[in-house]
Chain length 170, copies 2
């Protein structure tokens, strides 16, 4: 019976790109990510959640994604340039992040795996800034200085063996 | 050279559970998901993005996740019960959703895959409500009535063969 979680990874080579107040109508996400792709900027994690705001009468949402830290200045520049024409709000870059992920097969079938990862981080007072999940991966973004501590505490919490850790340095 | 996208799936058996204005300090996500797990409620996709608000002097974030539609009434009930003690904002359920996902190996290495999926949806005027990604999967939540149209347009956009579609009915 394979344990639901088989490894934990940390990636400190990324930055968070946040785009606020995107008009919530079809085509906006497409436009933003097409622009990044045209500039050869690979996007790793993308999260978009509930409507945050009704600004000036129309609904908008925020999107956050992670990109290579080296691409952050260009991403910020190209999006800031179109922000006013496209009706976007603030474009923000945060390079002070570490992306910590647990991987395993079929975690969906195990209620409590996400809670256990979050609880491990909470025990070390590590604040969770961003979350994205799939059946085989749960990703949390934390402050970069907390990355190694996060890796260790999750490693312990899930009893991972020597080969259970993967590090991508900054 | 395997195409980055090998299939598209639709799941109409889920509901979105949204929890607003969660005090942004360690332990809150853990507490919420531990409660759901205690009630045997499996959570599929979880997204948490930027800080939305500073409410009454402290920062808060929203979390959205998807759960089985059958679990929605109980999830809403148990979270509404603790909302005031835990300082949570509104607990909202939306059953009118379809979760559409594209799967493939190494999509991260292909800038533009996400943009292409979003553009396909935009062509049919389908609004994207929620987004979560990993290297092998990009998930969009759309209105349930748009689900089948979304499946078809993505299928076409990525030139998927007959075996490229998976449906999980409501
Ligand atoms: C906000 C953005 O995702 C928009 N809803 C779209 O479909 O493009
Ligand atoms: C909002 C919630 O994710 C909080 N930051 C936590 O770490 O639990």
């Amino acid at each position: 019976n394979a344990p639901p979680v088989r490894g934990v990874a940390i990636d400190r080579s990324q930055a968070r790109l946040g785009i606020r107040h995107i008009p919530d109508r079809p085509g906006m996400a497409a436009q933003i990510f097409a622009l990044l792709a045209q500039h050869r900027i690979s996007v790793d994690t993308i999260v978009q959640s509930q409507r945050c705001q009704v600004i000036g009468g129309f609904a908008s949402r925020d999107i956050a994604c992670t990109i290579a830290r080296a691409d952050a200045p260009e991403a910020e520049k190209i999006l800031t340039k179109v922000a006013s024409d496209w009706g976007l709000g603030e474009i923000a870059i945060d390079t002070d992040i570490a992306k910590v992920s647990i991987v395993g097969a079929g975690m969906i079938g195990h209620p409590g795996v996400a809670a256990k990862m979050f609880a491990a981080l909470a025990r070390e007072q590590i604040n969770i800034q961003m979350i994205a999940t799939s059946e085989i991966k749960i990703t949390c973004v934390v402050a970069e200085s907390e990355g190694v501590k996060a890796l260790k505490i999750i490693h312990e919490a899930f009893d991972l063996g020597g080969e259970g850790r993967i590090e991508i340095p900054a």
